[in-house]
Amino acid sequence: MNWTWFYRLGSPLWFYQMTTRWLPWLSLLAFVLLTTGLVWGLGFAPQDAKQGNSFRIIYLHVPASFLALAGYFLMATAGAIGLIWKMKLSYMIMKSAAPIGAALTFLALFTGAVWGKPTWGSYWVWDARITSMLILLFLYFGVLALQYAFHNEESGNKASAVLALVGTVNIPIIYKSVDWWYTLHQPSTIKLTSAPSMHPDMFHPLLVMILGFYCFYVVALCLFTRVEILRRERKTAWVGELAARSSNAVEGAKQ
């Protein structure tokens, strides 16, 4: 088995060069998808029979929720790869995924809460999905806090990777236990509406938004990771050249 591709994946330089090439195209795609989805969803999708126009929040809420969760698993996986194969790049990806994930989790909570007021009459209820989302936010905060609390970068990486991994086990447990506890104690008063029964006219813009969010997520992750790469590889020759070139460019622009 040839493993060179695996180690090339772990090379920050390779990652930096690849993203330099592909990022513009990906950003364009993300922009197009998000704009289309947003205009379609907010202006053209039909109104929901029961919820009226407040239903349009779905086009923001569902993609954000998806990515908040997916982002967490990506972060934990990156942490695990870092711990096992001691790959520097994957720690950088883990560190970059944390702020993005926290922001998206906050977004999911915010859009959910804002949606809850018109539909349930209150901003917040202690439902399994909502509770576990809140805890996910706490876990993201924990990873971020650990990462920055350590004076030693390596210790910070390892500690936050461990926490991310432990959290991966924890999230489904919390989801299950809240669900179990809640449904047994309070017969379900409120349930999130279920997607599959959705009308295609409503569903297609949602699909576009989800795709758009995925693209956006990848773009943001790459941008954060590139900064991290520069910061940690600043002693290498290639970053030095890059810095020299960019400062020359700035001087050139001034003259």
Binding site: L42, V227, L242
Partner: protein, 68 residues
Amino acid sequence: MKFQFQDVGQMLNMGGHGFYVWSAVIVTLMIIIGLIIRPLIQHRVVLSQIGQDLAREKLRKRVDGENN
């Protein structure tokens, strides 16, 4: 497929749910833009910092060379 609202006012109002929908939209856009802008700024800052460090080091080496 047709545009669901008669005019901009109605679209802003969203049948009484305008506040909820538009605040969600605005926060979403702010977060998306923030997540793109921040690393772009950081990228520039970090590069220029590294550039400055390198320049300073070069200067120091040159001064050391002259002294010796």
